[in-house]
């Protein structure tokens, strides 16, 4: 197949001023590399956020009683929770489905008292679901058949000055409004490294919580998925599966603060990419326009030979495409080593942030990763080609509008 001469013309034009082409390609490449890095960071960041939420016991999805979204009332219980649990566990793509019930409670030891949100769990399911309980520092986690025992966070233990095997005095408000009292023995103390989270962990067996509150059943079924990218699709399927008895919520609805953070992070990053894009576009447009001005006579000659306006535009845009391809290659070359490092080793924000990275009960990793992949190639090509084509529009129009008589005036000066 013979390459059209206009294509050769466009490609070879890049070789005319190698320095300018190189600088332009590096400019596009840097812009492309910044966009790639931010996007790689954002893609991984969103995934890590979703995973952190899921691993912190909130799951990817939740089956909640109808009306819970509005009231967020812990007293609400699921209709036919055994059926819902069965339905969730039978679905392909569901990794874990764990029943939960919550109530507020007062824990006391001696003269010391603290308020907590007590979580009733199914121990085997919870162990698969909740990464935080892997951080049991002393003792053990709950086991099937456990009764009147609890696992608490380290911060609660410190506040109450309790140790393993101590008995906590528990006060809860029952369904009928009366107070219910019980003694709970501490069988495990969790230390996640986050004081906020360790001050909120108080797990008991689901049966204990039912008995204490007089509210039967689970208040929610928390679900994690094999493939978190299918959250919305699985939510719809699960919703169909369970009918209208209860409602299916995604992590964004369960943790609206995290959802908003994620959206605002994305918006900020996109804005940043946009600003970088505009700067690159203006830089390339300026360089292209200078090149076009230098070539006014050439365009006049081409017009004299019979080249039409649209063909001039096509030539300039093809030059932009060729430059864009070079820029995309430069961008990939620049960013790939950095992305490889951050994809495999990550960036450790631990020393920069200090303390812990817990927000709204979600424990985040200190080490943030980026996400490399084949997506980078079409992404780099799109960014580079779109920006160079936009940048070339005005120079192309300018070239098309060349007045051959004034640019050439047939007689050479």
């Amino acid at each position: 197949m013979r390459v059209s001469l206009i294509m050769k013309f466009a490609v070879r034009t890049l070789g005319r001023s190698k320095r300018r082409t190189l600088l332009s390609a590096i400019g596009i490449g840097v812009g492309c590399a910044v966009a790639l890095f931010i996007t790689a960071f954002m893609r991984s960041g969103t995934e890590m956020r979703i995973q952190a939420i899921a691993d912190s016991g909130f799951g990817h999805l939740r089956i909640a009683p109808s009306g819970w979204m509005k009231s967020r009332e812990n007293k609400l219980r699921l209709s036919d929770w055994h059926a819902e649990l069965q339905a969730a566990r039978s679905m392909d793509g569901v990794r874990v489905a764990a029943p939960h019930a919550r109530t507020t409670a007062l824990l006391a030891f001696g003269t010391r008292v603290t308020g907590v949100e007590m979580l009733g769990v199914d121990p085997p399911a919870e162990e698969k679901l909740n990464r935080l309980i892997g951080a049991v520092q002393e003792g053990r986690y709950l086991r099937p058949g456990d009764r009147d025992v609890t696992v608490i966070g380290n911060a609660i233990a410190e506040r109450l000055e309790v140790e393993l095997e101590d008995d906590l005095f528990l006060t809860v408000v029952c369904e009928d409004g009366n107070m219910e009292y019980a003694m709970l023995r501490i069988v495990g103390i969790v230390n996640t490294g986050s004081r906020d989270i360790d001050a909120s962990i108080c797990h008991v067996a689901l049966g204990d919580l039912e008995r204490l509150t007089g509210l039967h059943g689970a208040g929610e079924i928390t679900i994690t998925l094999e493939d978190p990218s299918k959250i919305d699709q699985m939510a719809a399927q699960l919703s169909d599966q369970i009918g209208g008895r209860n409602e299916v919520l995604t992590w964004r609805e369960i943790q609206p603060g995290q959802g908003a953070d994620s959206a605002s992070d994305k918006a900020f990053m996109n804005l940043f990419i946009g600003i970088v894009g505009v700067v690159v576009i203006l830089g390339i447009a300026s360089a292209q326009l200078t090149a076009i001005l230098e070539r006014k006579r050439e365009f006049a000659v081409l017009m004299a030979l019979g080249m039409k306006g649209f063909q001039i535009v096509r030539l300039v845009l093809l030059e932009a495409v060729a430059l864009g391809l070079l820029g995309a290659a430069a961008g990939l070359a620049l960013v790939t080593p950095l992305l490889y490092y951050t994809d495999t080793k990550g960036i450790d924000f631990g020393s920069a942030l200090g303390g812990d990275m817990a927000v709204s009960g979600v424990l985040f990793d200190f080490v943030m990763y980026t996400q490399m992949g084949l997506w980078m190639i079409p992404y780099a090509l799109s960014v580079a080609l779109i920006s160079t084509l936009i940048a070339a529009l005005y120079p192309a129009w300018f070239a098309m509008k060349t007045d051959p008589t004034s640019a050439l005036s047939l007689r050479e000066a």
Binding site: K8, A304, S409
Partner: protein, 240 residues
Amino acid sequence: MENTLVEATDVKKDFYTGKITVNALRGLDLNVHKGDFLSIVGPSGSGKTTLLNLIGALDVATSGEVKVFGKDLSSLSRRKRADLRLKSLGFVFQAYNLVPVLTALENVEFVLELQGVGKERRERAQAVLEDLSLGELGDRRPNELSGGQQQRVAVARAVASRPRLVLADEPTANLDSENAKTLLEMMRYLRDEHDMTFVFSTHDPLVVSYASRVVTLRDGRVVSDEQKNSIAEDDEATVH
């Protein structure tokens, strides 16, 4: 008249520079006939370049009528004028103006590509170069050619689409007399063998000596128009 390729009647062309109006052509009348080897001479500012611009459909007259191949150029759109240049007119410039990133062959081929010639365009371009004894220069870029060679390739490019009329602005201005002579021989060969008509603007007595007709301009008007026998008409020299 069928043999009249260009009819310029009472042509005026004004240029405006701020508040100053320059009357480049002031009621010029000129016909160009098929087979002419026509030199337009005159002092600087007499309107030679403006006239070539108008005949070449690169510009339009302020008033009067310029008909090329029977078409009134003022009635043609920008696009149709481009089509006319592409298909029926050839241009040769003083400074050659070959596309620097294309080889000699590709420069010739480029015009054919613009015309929409398909697969055979390379063979046709090669044939044009061979016809003008430039075949061995095909692979060279303009910066690898001498001035004379570049101008001959520029002529090859101008005639690649077999135009009926070739306009040349000071084509020999940058050439020594030997190269100028070779170029003029080539152009005369094209006129004789390929029925092309040539119009030159020039100051070069050598070009005038080759011309079959000399039109003199002064102050935007034709002041003389004489048919003559080219002194080189009987020369045996050819491009072959």
